[in-house]
């Protein structure tokens, strides 16, 4: 049988057709939405913020206000300082934010805007007025993907605020780009362990709010600046993800972009130990997470979670025959794909194609290290057209990934299990739980049921028992 190892990666292709990635300011915007009282500002053309808002609203189904400095032709020629200053004035006037977080764009980076300089100048001009905090991140969309933007933003936030002077009674948790439901679940687990943790970013509320009695200009929720300050005084950090923003930025002329992650920054500058583990999906990865928590809390895993683990094993056993030997196509962000592959490895699904739009250059080695399986292959720099053409040959039984792969699943007439980001064609993308024993159980059930439903729908007689 053909495996993906026989295919060449797509990184040198002349054109990208149906990209399996979006641009870095989007990732930064999501991270910024996880700061309490924060209004993101995208320093560039109006379309950048509007398109990103629309993309995020279609997934989260929440108001996502992101301001734009609205570059014009004059701005592009003479520089963005006037738009920047007026933009900040207007955001303060309309939103009274605690934080204004600024992401650059391909345009502002190309014309050489110095955002940090603009912030300093603004602060100097308004030194007698109460001002919000400012954070800036460099996110030219010609470098990396939305994941680089996300992690760069987290690192910038930490670098801007972290301080040593607090009591060391807590840990930091950097969950990466997970769902609001995932963050809520993590909080519950930490609470059960009695661990005080600062989660950054925390958009569990701000991107998935309850219905409101009164309209909020800035949605409630998010990590407060005070808590972000405390990240510099933590006992330890836990960071989910192996690739994060640590990859080589492909086709970059300037290779100096090796900014560490938020947790790495704290390790390097504050001496806070960093436990970097994969996203806790599947039993082994989740066990590792709980091991870390046991070590930190100095208690055994609470019974609630040992039972969740037991139920997950029970589910694996009940459903094992429905999934064993099935061929899956998995796609999405690099860390997400790695986590999914490890999970599928546990249940006997063969990932015939693992594809990512990222181009870190590290994913392949990492997955082989993690699983000890030298056959596992991740193709990087993939777009959906390439995924489609490979899938036509590989004839998978199921696809696992975000909603953008739907058209391929439809063409091949195979089920798609929607997970990750974005979910644009279904309700509840923001409420999908992926992490922990509980998230894995739901994922396993979804995969089993998708396969069972497919068989049932294609049975000539239909049936009532599995």
């Amino acid at each position: 049988m053909k495996t993906t190892a026989t295919y060449k990666e797509n990184t040198t292709a002349a054109a990208t057709t149906n990209a399996c990635k979006v641009c870095s300011p989007l990732g930064a915007s999501v991270a910024f939405k996880g700061i309490k009282g924060c209004v993101p500002l995208i320093h560039g053309s109006q379309g950048c913020s509007t398109y990103i808002r629309r993309y995020l609203i279609s997934h989260y189904k929440e108001p996502v206000d992101i301001a734009s400095s609205n570059f014009s032709q004059d701005t592009t020629i003479f520089g963005g300082h006037r738009n920047f200053n007026k933009g900040i004035d207007n955001i303060i006037r309309q939103y009274k934010p605690e934080v204004i977080a600024i992401a650059s764009t391909c345009l502002s980076e190309t014309i050489g805007e110095d955002i940090k300089g603009l912030i300093s100048a603004y602060k100097a001009q308004h030194k007698d007025e109460p001002l919000p905090h400012f954070v800036a991140v460099s996110t030219p969309s010609y470098q990396g993907t939305h994941m680089d933007g996300f992690h760069e933003a987290v690192a910038s936030i930490v670098a801007a605020f972290a301080e040593r002077r607090f009591k060391r009674s807590h840990i930091n948790l950097f969950p990466g780009f997970v769902s609001p439901e995932d963050i809520r679940h993590l909080k519950e687990i930490l609470e059960a362990f009695g661990i005080e943790a600062i989660i950054l970013p925390d958009y569990s509320e701000s991107l998935d709010n309850p219905n409101w009695e009164e309209y909020h200009r800035i949605p409630p929720g998010g990590t407060s600046v005070n808590d972000i300050k405390k990240t510099g005084s933590a006992q330890a950090s836990i960071e989910f993800g192996h690739i994060l923003n640590l990859g080589n930025i492909n086709n970059s002329v300037n290779d100096s972009k090796v900014n560490p992650t938020g947790a790495a920054f704290l390790q390097n500058n504050f001496g806070i130990p960093n436990m970097r583990i994969g996203m806790p999906i599947g039993i082994k990865a989740t066990d590792l997470f709980f091991e870390k928590l046991e070590g930190i809390a100095q208690i055994k895993t609470p019974e609630k979670y040992t039972k969740e683990r037991g139920r997950l094993i029970d589910a694996y056993i009940d459903g094992h025959k429905y999934v064993f030997g099935k061929k899956a196509v998995v796609y999405g962000e690099e860390d997400f794909v790695i986590a999914m592959m490890m999970f599928l490895d546990e249940i006997g699904i063969e990932p015939v194609l693992c594809a990512t739009g990222g181009e870190s250059g590290k994913a392949q080695d990492r997955i082989r290290q993690l699983t000890g399986n030298s056959k596992l292959t991740i193709l990087q720099g993939m777009d959906f057209e390439t995924i489609a053409s490979l899938s036509r040959e590989l004839k998978p039984d199921i696809m696992i990934g975000n909603s953008k792969g739907y058209y391929i699943a439809r063409e091949l007439n195979i089920p798609l299990v929607r997970v990750g980001f974005p979910i644009h064609d279904r309700m509840g993308g923001q409420r999908i739980l992926h992490l922990g024993y509980k998230g894995t159980t739901q994922l396993f059930d979804s995969i089993c049921n998708a396969l069972i439903e497919y068989k049932q729908n294609n049975s000539p007689v239909g049936y009532k028992y599995m």
């Binding site: 054109a15 990209a19 990635k21 629309r54 609205n70 701005t75 004035d89 969309s141 086709n251 300037n254």
Partner: protein, 481 residues
């Protein structure tokens, strides 16, 4: 609402609101907010959005992309970093009866290397590869922000590829910062203008029209085309819904341009009038009145009795089916108040009339790209006191909705969560909608959708301020009738 009729500083217009709710408005936007019934009504519009605003508008690229996107047999290549192409992948419900090439998202996916050393080579390679693979009838190349800055000569690349591959390759100068979404409409029209008149055909086709500015969302254009065919009208080109390159090439053989979505297509209609002497009329297909007028006006233009008789018969037949159905909705919906915020103002005007048909009063109305004439028309058709707004943002919109106690919001994807968070109904009038809202059938769908959102029992769980209680209770009563 006496205070609303005076045109003074915004804080004076809304003294109470400002006291309760400071700084709703951005400085410099005072003249983009007005009220119907105001004697000094003079809407300021067609200007760039304020820096720092959370405008609902997009950019020049967006404007050009929405206009050209539905041409289904053309290759649409976005020259720039990945974002612009990713965010517009299969974004609209613009259906095609044949090729689906427009639904793929092609990008040169520029990296730092090209930003520094230029992207022309990559564009050339992308175009030649994609043309060989997909064999399109023509190609459009959209330049994005940084292409304008790094100075790629996309005209030259397009010419070269065109000569080598023997197909038309047209540059679309869509640098996002180079104006507003409206300027994007214009650059799209310029590209179309280069395509029109390039077929062998020169002779006018009798009783023929081009449909300009309908994008065949949810198959709306198919319904309209059927109406026109029934009254004996030939359609040459659909610009651009379910559009084909060959049809657009010979659009110069039509006798009349029928322009909907005037904001995007008036430039092209004027251009064709100048070049080919083709007159144009502005129409709208939303609501019974405007839909029927469109058919009558086309029939009148051809000054042919049989066409007018056919139009009258068609309208009568459709209304016979439609009116009794609408009457029921009107009974249930009377008393509802609507807020409208959409891209084009001409559509907004039709919506006011369509809503009136089903008993719904418009209390807030706005658009991203309306012009002075549009807003004057809006002022004339709206009830006194209706808030009229140009280029609004979420904070303003939620404020107007609460101020006027709107019970239903009609808008697009970005407006939907505002309505839902305010706990009021919402009707999707966006480009990705799956229900046709144009034509007679569309009017019924529209009524159904407004009814479904207004009468849903879910609102009983939404806690509201006392001023909003009344319409809610009325909804419940209506539903139970």
């Amino acid at each position: 609402m006496g205070d609303f009729s005076k045109k003074v500083a915004i804080s004076a217009i809304y003294p109470v609101m400002e006291k309760e709710n400071k700084n709703i408005y951005l400085l410099g936007r005072e003249k983009q907010i007005a009220t119907a019934g105001d004697a000094n009504f003079d809407m300021e519009c067609s200007k760039a959005s304020e820096a720092g605003s959370v405008s609902q508008r997009a950019c020049v690229f967006c404007g050009s992309r929405v206009v050209l996107y539905p041409i289904a047999d053309a290759l649409h290549v976005v020259h720039g970093p990945i974002g612009c192409a990713s965010y517009t992948w299969d974004i609209r419900g613009a259906l095609s009866s044949g090729p689906q090439l427009h639904r793929l998202s092609f990008s040169t996916d520029l990296r730092e290397e090209q930003v520094i050393f230029g992207g022309e080579k990559k564009l050339y390679a992308a175009l030649t590869t994609l043309i060989d693979k997909h064999k399109p009838a023509a190609a459009f190349v959209y330049s994005t922000c940084i292409v304008g800055v790094i100075g790629d000569d996309i005209e030259a690349v397009c010419k070269k590829v065109s000569a080598e591959k023997g197909i038309t390759v047209l540059p679309v100068h869509a640098e996002g910062f180079n104006g507003t979404k409206k300027d994007g409409y214009r650059v799209a029209c310029e590209a179309l203008s280069k395509l029109i008149g390039t077929s062998e055909q020169r002779n006018k086709v009798p009783f023929s029209i081009n449909i300009l500015g309908d994008f065949n969302l949810a198959g709306e254009l198919w319904m309209l085309a059927e109406y026109y065919r029934k009254i004996g009208i030939n359609i040459i080109a659909q610009v651009t819904g379910d559009g084909r390159v060959e049809d657009i090439r010979r659009a110069n053989t039509a006798c009349l341009n029928v322009v909907q979505c005037s904001g995007s297509m008036t430039w092209l209609a004027k251009d064709m009038k100048e070049k080919y002497g083709i007159p144009y009329i502005r129409v709208s297909y939303f609501g019974i009145e405007d839909m029927s007028n469109a058919l009558y006006e086309v029939a009148r233009f051809f000054d042919d009795e049989s066409k007018m008789d056919a139009a009258k018969l068609l309208v009568a037949t459709e209304l016979k089916k439609l009116l009794p159905a609408l009457k029921e909705y009107k009974e249930k919906l009377t008393g509802q108040k609507a807020a409208i915020y959409v891209g084009g103002a001409f559509k907004a005007i039709s919506l006011v009339k369509a809503l009136r048909l089903i008993g719904v009063q418009t209390v807030v109305i706005g658009s991203q790209t309306g012009n002075k004439d549009d807003y004057n028309l809006i002022k004339d058709i709206c009830d006194e006191g209706t808030i009229i707004v140009d280029d609004s943002n979420p904070i303003e919109l939620q404020h107007f909705i609460r101020e006027k106690n709107a019970t239903i919001f009609i808008g697009g994807v970005k407006e939907r969560p505002i309505a839902h968070k305010l706990g009021i109904g919402f009707c999707d009038h966006n480009h990705e909608r799956k229900e046709a809202l144009a034509g007679y059938e569309g009017m019924l769908n529209f009524a159904k959708e407004i009814y479904a959102t207004a009468m849903s029992p879910v609102w009983q769980f939404v806690r509201k301020s006392p001023s909003q209680e009344e319409p809610r209770i009325k909804n419940q009563e209506q539903r139970l009738k």
